[in-house]
């Protein structure tokens, strides 16, 4: 408390004389309304608020997940459809070409030239694994006969005449046409000879 001067006391006394406006009823109705508000607000417990928060966050998470999945799906489809259907089939290395990998010495395969895309020659070492190195079940692999197999040249008549080569799946390593399928068929040395004759 301060030590009030006579001036202060006089002013305070004067202000006490100020009549109070008759607004009691209107102010009470406002108070009454505001006092009712807590009952509605009381239902808004912190637990509910947290639940609502989590719900809101969950919604954002759901939207985010949908967006990511959509983008991944689009990207996957886009990448799958990008392999050009119009590309000439000669760009695809025929499976027969891999047969040269069985040679003892390192062989340089000249790749098929692409438009505006220089490709370095692929050097396949003799110790590189190819599907031909995997012995076929039941077949007797003769190393001598393997060495006598001449490499298949890329400049085959079909290739020169721009005749589209059949799409060869290198993974499956389908045998060249006219050759018997290895699976379940016994292959002997004569089969290799026939294959070499056709390839040559």
């Amino acid at each position: 408390m301060n030590t009030s001067s006579p001036y202060d006391q006089l002013l305070a006394a004067k202000l006490d004389q100020v009549p109070v406006p008759d607004m009691a009823d209107s102010i009470w109705s406002a108070i009454d309304t505001q006092l009712d508000a807590p009952t509605d607000a009381s239902t808004d417990t912190p637990k509910n608020k947290t639940a609502r928060k989590i719900k809101g966050k969950g919604w954002y998470g759901f939207l985010g997940t949908i967006t990511v999945v959509t983008l991944l799906w689009w990207g996957y489809n886009h990448m799958n459809h990008t392999p050009p259907q119009n590309k000439p089939p000669q760009n695809i290395q025929p499976a027969t070409k891999d047969s040269s990998a069985a040679a003892d010495t390192s062989t340089v395969i000249n790749p098929v030239k692409k438009k505006n895309m220089p490709v370095k020659p692929v050097i396949i070492k003799k110790d590189s694994t190819s599907l031909h190195d995997i012995p076929i079940k039941g077949a007797v692999v003769d190393s001598v006969s393997k060495q006598t197999l001449p490499p298949v040249h890329i400049d085959s008549p079909l290739h020169i005449n721009n005749v589209p080569l059949p799409h060869v799946d290198s993974v499956r390593n389908n045998p060249p046409p006219g050759r018997k399928k290895g699976k379940g068929v016994k292959i002997n040395n004569d089969d290799y000879k026939i294959s070499a004759d056709k390839g040559g």
């Binding site: 301060n2 009030s4 202060d8 004067k14």
Partner: protein, 178 residues
């Protein structure tokens, strides 16, 4: 109103009895409105202050401890705090570094002759910060230390506002008489 009656109403208010709350409000309306009127710039703002103050009072009536002071003092503090919140909303309290404050001479006879409503109007015309400090010190008896803590300003600033308020009121009172 007798102290026992007031305590009975307060007890009923603690249990949320709306009738008791209204009764308490009507009993204290004149006392509370007189306080709010000093800090407000007009009757409507005083009504707003009073409404908010009573709502706060009813909501926190369970925290009222009679052993710490009487109910009127507790309510007065709530009303003043609410009034200062209102003033802070419309004005920024800046700290001024003042060492010495000049005390203006005020002719008491002029105040005595002036109408109470006119004096209240003069006080309301003061700048918001000066108005708050002036009423807190002159009317409600706060010390500069208490005012400084309440308004988050220095004691020097509080003294400056008081001096400034006195000076302005003196000038206006002189102008009225002339």
């Amino acid at each position: 109103m007798q102290e026992q009656d007031l305590n009975k109403i307060i007890t009923d208010c603690r249990s949320g009895n709306r009738k008791a709350q209204e009764q308490l409000y009507r009993q204290l309306y004149g006392f509370a409105m007189a306080i709010a009127m000093r800090y407000a710039i007009d009757e409507h703002e005083a009504a707003d202050i009073l409404g908010h103050a009573f709502v706060k009072m009813f909501r926190s009536i369970n925290s009222y401890d009679p052993s710490k002071g009487n109910f009127h003092g507790w309510l007065k503090k709530i009303i003043i705090n609410e009034s200062l919140d209102q003033i802070k909303q419309r004005s920024r309290f800046s700290t001024l570094e003042i060492d010495t404050v000049e005390e203006p001479f005020v002719n008491n006879s002029i105040i005595e002759k002036t109408d109470a409503a006119a004096i209240l109007q003069l006080i309301r015309q003061l700048p918001p910060a000066t108005h708050a400090v002036f009423v807190l010190y002159v009317i409600d008896g706060y010390s500069h230390k208490e005012i400084a803590a309440q308004l988050n300003i220095s004691e020097g600033t509080s003294k400056w506002h008081l001096s400034e308020g006195r000076k302005i009121i003196q000038q206006k009172l002189m102008a009225i008489k002339i």
